[in-house]
Symmetry: C2
Subunit: 239 residues, 2 copies
Amino acid sequence: MVTNQSQHISQQFEKELQDIRSQVLAMGGLVEQQVQNAMEALVNGDADLARSVISGDDEINKLEVSIDEDCIQIIAKRQPTASDLRLVTGILKTITDLERIGDESVRIARMALNLSEKDRPKKNYRELSNLGNHVRGMLRDALDAFARFDVDTALRTAREDREVDAEYESILRQLITYMMEDPRAVTRVLDMMWSARSLERIGDHAHNVCEHVIYLVEGKDVRHLSVEKMEKVIKGEQD
Amino acid sequence: MVTNQSQHISQQFEKELQDIRSQVLAMGGLVEQQVQNAMEALVNGDADLARSVISGDDEINKLEVSIDEDCIQIIAKRQPTASDLRLVTGILKTITDLERIGDESVRIARMALNLSEKDRPKKNYRELSNLGNHVRGMLRDALDAFARFDVDTALRTAREDREVDAEYESILRQLITYMMEDPRAVTRVLDMMWSARSLERIGDHAHNVCEHVIYLVEGKDVRHLSVEKMEKVIKGEQD
């Protein structure tokens, strides 16, 4: 049934779906840039760049609302079923996660603003910066998986989330030690801690995007499953 | 057009929509209970209750997935338009926020577990407890607004979020002072800080639910607007 219906979709409808996908990828590109700029602002103490991240969030919010409207228009007008409907609802979920990644970038940029006025021991930023690169890689791969409907990449990327969590935990432990050793540094270290937390959350959202990709390609809802279970479900070995 | 279409909806369809709404409210009730239990576990150092919150999250996740499936089934089968379609997509968004409130409750429960083994100065918990009550009130009102399609309650509740944020900021400042005064208390105070953060996030999600209610009743997307702008948009004074 799926294939029959897919074959009979009008070209116009195909084009509309294609347009929405391009818009999601454009939004994803912007969000990725926001994460990168927020991290640069943080690491280099660049207050201007931090401010541009904060003001740039508006565009991402607008994109979310407009893609959302387009999706609902398509549902109302084209009444898609099966895989097309999954694509549209999968996109609705994906843009929610992208928008929240945008919000976390703003949080990091706010911390960058605070920190730009304070003493900055380079060493800690190196580790935050590593975590930032890791998370940004996850986001890029998740968007790539979305662009190519690539379940393998989605699975591999979802798996990364655990490493990100471990990196985050290790940074956290280190920052706690700093706080205990130098109570005067508490507010500064807390700003770094919130930034690390935001990066960890961005990893979670990238992980969610991977789940949405798996859902819209395979029609299987793998949320709330471990990566091992996700793999089993995809291979049809569900128990 | 909206009214015409609504009038011609089959009784069966009406029943299906009604069922989904009831399920969302049941999910909301569970989530509210999780928040309450997590807070009780935190304030009373009740490790068993904390563990029950952590294991209880599974049921909420399953409800999210099942309501989600029902919504997509309804879209595919009934091809709703206008206000019915808004109801279904509004529900899809609402359950995402409810599920995330469930996640934050688990985070609080984890902190409660940590803290149950440590020294517990009652005073700080009183303030966290106040914040918890405030946020739980917001959640209850947001669900109430959803149950009764009540835009006024949604607006009033969305407005609360600012007070919650202010309360959170004040707790944060206080906790920072504690950390500076007693570096040995850093990990304990951090657990309280993460809990406060989770409460603040729950307030954000309750605020989002209010936006979804306004959207599904009024057909106006008020996300990313200040409460003042939301009011203007609803009154049709959009500039």
